[in-house]
Amino acid sequence: MMTLVSEPVVGDGAMERDLLVEEARRAQALAEQALNLRDEFVSIAAHELKTPVASLKLCAQMLERRMSKGSAKPEDVTRGLRTIREQSDRLGRLIDGLLDISRLQAKRFMLDVCRTDVVSLAGSVCSLMTPLLGEHTVEFEAPESLWADVDPLRVEQIIVNLLTNAAKFTVGPRPIQLKIAEEGSTVAISVRDFGLGIPQEARDTLFNRFHQAHSAKHHGGMGLGLYISREIAEAHGGTLEAEHPPDGGAKFVLRLPLSSRPDEAAG
């Protein structure tokens, strides 16, 4: 008697089903991972926003209390007002970061491009940032000028972010190197530190949204800076890459296309 075997057909169907189930499982795991990441981000963002709010609240209440007791000295008021201004600026910067993320997601991120001397721009950022970098000094090395068609405020934002990160992840008074060089048709702006460096396991996800390379140890910040910086670089037709020097620390290189009409620009 001949037996009709339909097993291969059944087998194919089962295999297909298994593949679909496996695919669904993977999609679910990815969705869960994204949700966890979002929850973690919300928690970090709340922490970052509430801390300056706490300082503002306590500062105002402390001044109020001292004034009502008649014990507030003029220098207390001056210092308190400075704290209020600085903490308001800090809140403003955090909110700007959140707005950038929202604009990037909605593809509403606009650049206001103009011909810019990148060397002069980086030099100004360096001077403005140095007092804010605590015990770290910045070694600035650049040619006389290099022109690019960029949004100067956005390029400044990237350099500020890279210098701030370099200082944040460097313990003790170590120098930070800010170098600018011409590389073919691009200008390369590199920020090198001699700090903690990027752990091996964090390198692949370094530029991801909400990512913090040293998240287990809270160093402040919302993990948005590098993501936003790379998006800005790419919106200019440039790149932002991390390098991991063998002698420690981290190096970030921002490459932007040089202006195609340097003579006109220089004039």
Partner: protein, 127 residues
């Protein structure tokens, strides 16, 4: 006048830490500030304290690590009040079996009431 052992304030945010230290000092409490868990642990193990106000998210040594090390190494642990900006402040306090919590942004009155509660519980009062 009753002498009070210091209150240790551990917070990596320099502005907030100084503010808490100043407010408590204004009220007559002796206060020591520390910038992270490691620095705080050094102080806590080397001093007699009344209370520890502890931030949780900190570099070098976070709040969880601090509590674990402090309780393991201290012969006479004092109450710990968790001060955190996390939305689940009470949960974090429970996690480390803290004696209380202050959810940031807490106000001056909340801070003083909490500190007073633990200081008076220790049988002393501010001068």
């Amino acid at each position: 006048m009753t002498s009070i052992d210091p209150i240790l304030v551990i917070d990596d945010d320099e502005v907030l830490r100084s503010m808490i230290v100043e407010i408590l000092t204004d009220e007559g409490y002796p206060v020591i500030g520390a910038a992270d868990g490691a620095q705080g642990l050094k102080v806590a193990l080397g001093s007699v304290l009344t209370l520890i106000l502890l931030d949780m998210r900190m570099p070098t040594m976070n709040g969880w690590e601090f509590v674990k090390a402090y309780r393991e190494q201290s012969g006479r642990p004092v109450p710990i009040v968790v001060c955190t900006a996390a939305s689940n402040a009470s949960l974090w306090a429970e996690e480390v079996q803290a004696d209380g919590f202050l959810a940031k942004p807490f106000g001056l009155e909340e801070l003083l009431t909490t500190v007073h509660h633990f200081v008076s519980g220790a049988g002393v009062s501010a001068v």
